[in-house]
Chain length 336, copies 2
DNA sequence: TTGTAAGCGTTATCAC
DNA sequence: GTGATAACGCTTACAA
């Protein structure tokens, strides 16, 4: 078992345990010959260093905490993959913690990460606002938020977000370019600032192309297929239905696709549909969905790199980091 | 910051630090009055226990390692959610580690978990066989494998798997019951034992219903949509095409759906389609897919509970645990 | 009920 | 180059 410590090796090698410690970590201050002897011995004896003990004295755990709403959300999963892979490449380890969007659970998660002495925390897609941010600051290590608008980024907390406004600007502009002028927008959950931003991009594209904004073309969704289905039913009953619809996200668009199929509306013939996010299944639905790609893995990577810089810097203030905003990208498939 | 230790509290309270330790952990051996005083003090001073130090002396880290191929696989993500949530409920923490199906990376992951002194390891959907199992045993803590056939479960390693044979038996039997007798099977990756098992269940259902097994109705897929698409193209060119197709998994079935749409084959009118897994999107494709539900979260839960039992038992051998096999469940949607 | 001393497995700081 | 010794923050005997 992993019950052999540097002291055991020291005894076996006839040296002191600090020498073993040095040898194992390739310190130049140790005789080449004894160094290899110690290393061989360590291997033979099945030595495995104890990160807890090391961390206790060095003060660094090489561990970051990742707080998610639920890892079962494919969007979150991809972000986490980007985080984990970057962490791994840099010798860090990831502690995963889900909040299920419950405030108490999120607070408990952060508290637990504090207890485990993580070197940094990354929070994705949380909606738990002020009360929570306060708790976050208390943790005393860098915090990076992904797709989470925190108004005032503090000393230590930074954000990585997708440019929602620009993304939906691209989407809407594209619809206009291919000839649409009655373009609907199906909203997301009302309390998400991302919805406001996506709406803003939509309106901006209309404005720039001199298409008057028609509020009746904006109908509420909920970010899920059911919301999209309901919304499309509303839209097709209008006296003058839209020829295209831009959806808050892909899940909404999937609901639209389904409602269209039921109503015998041909896509993209009768109606063009654009989503947002590029979830993994966007290309597998029928017809494959035109959408705005959020660079999910890259966002994870950027957040992790930022965390690394913050934890490894002597003085994080000197780093003069700024929040990161990444651009989405339009991918045209067959729904338009 | 988290720089206050029990010694600091001890000083402030005028007691010794073991007393603080006892008080904070609700030991009955400490005066009620001083206990509350100490607790208040701890809160005021912003005390946060250090799990590393605690773990070092108790020998338990209350941490489990979870090794996955990639968390971006929705199947894996759901399993991990089951694991994480059960871990959380029992005061455990999850370290996530991806292997990308690369053996060296998987071995490195396990080594890292050893260094971090996890109390147990759960591995999902790995295919990395013998070489790897050997490494796993070396870790010296319980290992539970999910959907991973290890032939000889060792002292410490157990498995949680879905009953592949029975699941596809259910699927095929159902197709027979609704009147099909020419039923194709599109296989998964050839080297997966799950494919052999699913194939076996398919053949068993045919046999029990006196339908002769026709090898020409078994066509190779690859577990992904492209494989399903290719396979269906082969099937429809047969002089006597099948009226139903059972697919190795949902991803394959999605490919079939797409090929059918292209070929103007109506589903389920001309062709009934059944998948396996019940990935989140199975209900969002068109038509919503009839499939076999793998209880993914439950499998994660069971694996975690098993890990807990194993780590917390005095003598794991006395537990007389056995590998767990869970039953899948048929869910009939609109593709049949 | 509380304090003293020891120890968990490391690394860091000194001497030698 | 190497070895004592202390320290990290905690728990657990054992004493008082």
């Amino acid at each position: 078992m992993g019950k052999v410590s540097i002291k055991d090796i020291a005894k076996a090698a006839g040296v002191s345990h600090p020498t073993v410690s040095r040898a194992l970590r390739d310190s130049p201050l140790v005789n080449m010959h004894t160094k290899t002897r110690i290393k061989d011995l360590a291997r033979e004896m099945g030595y495995c260093p104890d990160a807890r003990a090391r961390s206790l004295v060095t003060g660094r755990s090489y561990t970051v905490g990742v707080v998610v709403t639920t890892i079962a959300d494919p969007f979150v999963a991809e972000v986490v993959q980007g985080i984990e892979s970057t962490a791994h490449d840099n010798g860090y380890t990831v502690i995963l913690s889900s909040s299920n969007s419950e405030p108490e659970r999120e607070i408990a998660a952060v508290e637990m990460l504090r207890v485990k002495r993580v070197d940094g925390v990354i929070v994705t897609s949380s909606r738990i606002g002020a009360l929570y941010l306060e708790h976050l600051e208390r943790i005393g290590v860098p915090v990076v938020l992904i797709n989470n608008h925190n108004e005032q980024s503090g000393h230590y907390t930074y954000t990585v977000t997708v440019d929602n406004r620009h993304g939906s600007y691209l989407a809407t502009k594209y619809l206009i370019q291919i000839g649409h002028c009655r373009i609907a927008y199906i909203t997301g959950p009302a309390d998400h600032s991302s919805d406001a931003d996506r709406m803003a991009g939509y309106r901006q594209a209309l404005r720039k192309n001199s298409i008057p904004y028609d509020p009746t073309l904006v109908v509420p969704g909920d970010g899920r297929p059911t919301g999209g289905t309901r919304a499309l039913r509303t839209l097709i009953e209008m006296r003058q239905p839209p020829s295209a619809v831009f959806c808050y996200n892909d899940m909404t668009a999937i609901g639209v696709l389904r409602a269209a199929q039921e109503a015998n509306i041909s896509i993209p013939g009768d109606l063009a549909v654009v989503g947002f996010d590029d979830i993994p299944f966007a290309s597998f639905v029928y017809p494959p969905l035109t959408t705005i790609i959020q660079p999910k893995q890259e966002m994870g990577r950027l957040a992790m790199e930022m965390t690394l810089k913050l934890t490894e810097a002597e003085d994080p203030a000197k780093l003069s980091l700024t929040d990161i905003m990444v651009e989405g990208e339009l991918v045209v498939r067959e729904s338009t």
